[in-house]
């Protein structure tokens, strides 16, 4: 109750600051943008599994519309609505109140600053059909066994973020962000985060516990040439995900992005430590260790090279994977130590302005056999049409 009052006071203060800062612009400027991607994923190795429920073998469609409104030089709003596998969702609904470039308050619903990929999560902004495994939200093979990636992207949440950017001289850009958001959710005594609860209508805008998740990010961008720069970033997030605040999760990440003229090299690591309840030991596949037996670690990483061959044609190669250590529920197909590696080769070609066709082939290597097919190695192919305006 007390924390609710504090939150109300904080929001009222922020709204008052917003009103005070809102120097009227000569005109309210609006910009509408959107994107859509239709992807066909062909998984020849999963065909024998007869519509394996944990693999999309067919079409997926996602589109998004975004409205950015500049009320003044200091206050703007962003609204983005997406439609995808989960139906309509609010990806962005926030206000930015900017005191200076170095100090901006973001309040509402947004994806908190974490990692490098999240800025490019829109399918029109990345050249492969799939996101890196660490950020996967459902296209990965065996997604249910793995409970998706380390931090499915995007991960819109409700809260407040303070962020800013500062150029140190003419060649170094420093960015920071610190935030408090609702955090991920799950039922009491769960063994992992239930990402569906972050998007189901029944719990959409309501926090499941009284404790926010806190996090932050720092990044440095070095201008190493007229057409080259290097970004190094560190991110972290900590909170509890069950209604009783007994089970915590902590996510850390490190990223490096090197842009050398027409070549982009991106590397990123994410690790999530997730505590789970061991009050009922019968639900586990393995004997619960008395020490350090109440959490799992999920690591994810990728290395991606994107080479523009012509202004309209990009060639991409990516190696990514995840490694999970820790007990699992008795019915799980995963082991105490499970891994998945994926090797991707793809191209993206701009047919028209704003319209790209994407092709990619992915070779998967799982440490565990598929329960239906007995396979450890899988193959998938994507063809997608992605447009933006």
């Amino acid at each position: 109750m007390r924390s609710a009052r504090v939150l109300v006071v904080a929001l009222a203060t922020l709204l008052a600051a917003l009103a005070a800062l809102a120097t009227p612009a000569s005109a309210i400027e609006r910009n509408f943008a959107g994107s859509a991607q239709l992807d066909y994923q062909f998984v020849p190795t999963a065909r024998s599994a007869k519509a394996n429920p944990s693999t999309f073998d067919g079409f997926t469609m996602e589109f998004a519309g975004k409205l950015a409104v500049d009320f003044s030089e200091r206050v703007s709003a962003n609204m983005k609505v997406c439609y995808g596998c989960h139906g309509f969702e609010a990806d962005m609904m926030y206000f930015d109140v900017r005191v200076a470039d170095e100090l901006n308050f973001r309040v509402g619903r947004f994806s908190p600053s974490f990692g490098a990929f999240n800025l490019r999560h829109d399918p029109a902004n990345h050249r492969l059909s799939d996101k890196p495994l660490a950020y996967d939200m459902g296209r990965m093979l065996r997604m249910r066994q793995w409970n998706q990636g380390v931090l499915p992207s995007p991960f819109p949440d409700n809260g407040l973020e303070v962020n800013g950017t500062k150029w140190l001289g003419t060649s170094v850009q420093f960015d920071y962000a610190a935030y408090a958001v609702s955090g991920f959710k799950a039922d009491p005594k769960s063994l992992d985060i239930d990402f569906k609860q972050s998007r189901t209508p029944s719990a959409y805008y309501v926090d499941d516990n009284a404790r926010p998740t806190f996090g932050g990010r720092m990044a440095l961008t070095f201008k190493v040439g007229e057409t080259s720069d290097l970004t190094l970033g560190l991110s972290g997030m900590y909170g509890t995900y069950d209604p009783n605040n007994e089970q915590s999760y902590a996510i850390i990440g490190g990223d490096a992005t090197l842009r050398l003229d027409k070549t982009n090299i991106r590397a990123e690591y994410l690790g999530r430590r997730t505590e789970f309840s061991t009050s009922d030991r019968t639900v586990f596949k393995y004997v619960v260790a008395d020490e350090r037996g109440d959490f799992s670690m999920k690591h994810g990483a990728y290395l991606e090279v994107e080479q523009a061959l012509t202004p309209d044609l990009d060639l991409l190669g990516r190696v990514d994977g995840m490694f999970r250590v820790g007990n699992v529920e008795s019915a799980s197909e995963l082991s105490r130590r499970s891994s998945v590696f994926r090797y991707t080769l793809g191209t993206a070609y701009a047919i028209e302005r704003g319209l790209r066709i994407k092709f990619s082939t992915e070779l998967w290597e799982f440490s565990d056999r598929d329960a239906l097919t007995g396979r450890k190695v899988e193959l998938s192919m994507h063809t997608a049409l992605a447009g933006s305006f």
Partner: protein, 148 residues
């Protein structure tokens, strides 16, 4: 079987790209068709703005108001790791003002009337793309437009 699928998919990819390139128009602008004094600015625009999104985003935004471009580019410059410094912003805005003027000219030709002003109540009609001889000045009331 894996090797067969891989070979086939790569061959199919190559064929589709070859077929598509026969009838393509491309994502950005043809820099060789731009005025010489705007090409360097376009290069900065194309390089910086393609870091996070496709060039189609700004090029199809249909923004003809210079003031709106200032707000837009300011918002982009403040994006984390944008790599857009103030001098970069000046160059980007020089190109976008040229581009907006061109859009206004096209719109005026379509409407058969006077071109739409650069921004409400400020600029006179621009019949053709202006030469970006001076750095873009921020519109009145804009705090950090134009990189100043």
């Amino acid at each position: 079987m894996m090797l067969r699928f891989l070979t086939r998919s790569l061959t199919a990819t190559a064929l589709v790209i070859v077929a598509a390139s026969a009838c393509h128009r491309g994502e950005g602008l043809d820099a060789s068709k731009l005025p010489e004094n705007i090409r360097a600015d376009y290069d900065v625009f194309a390089h910086k703005c393609s870091k996070c999104h496709s060039l189609a985003r700004p090029l199809t935004a249909n923004i003809t108001d210079d003031e709106q471009w200032v707000l837009y580019v300011n918002r982009m410059r403040r994006q984390p790791a944008s790599g857009i410094s103030y001098p970069d912003q000046e160059a980007i805005l020089r190109f976008l003002r040229y581009y907006a003027a061109d859009l206004r000219r096209i719109q005026a030709e379509k409407n058969g009337g006077a071109p739409v002003p650069a921004h409400s109540g400020q600029s006179p009609p621009v019949p053709s793309p202006p030469a970006p001889s001076a750095p873009p000045a921020a519109p009145a009331g804009t705090v950090d437009g134009g990189g100043t």
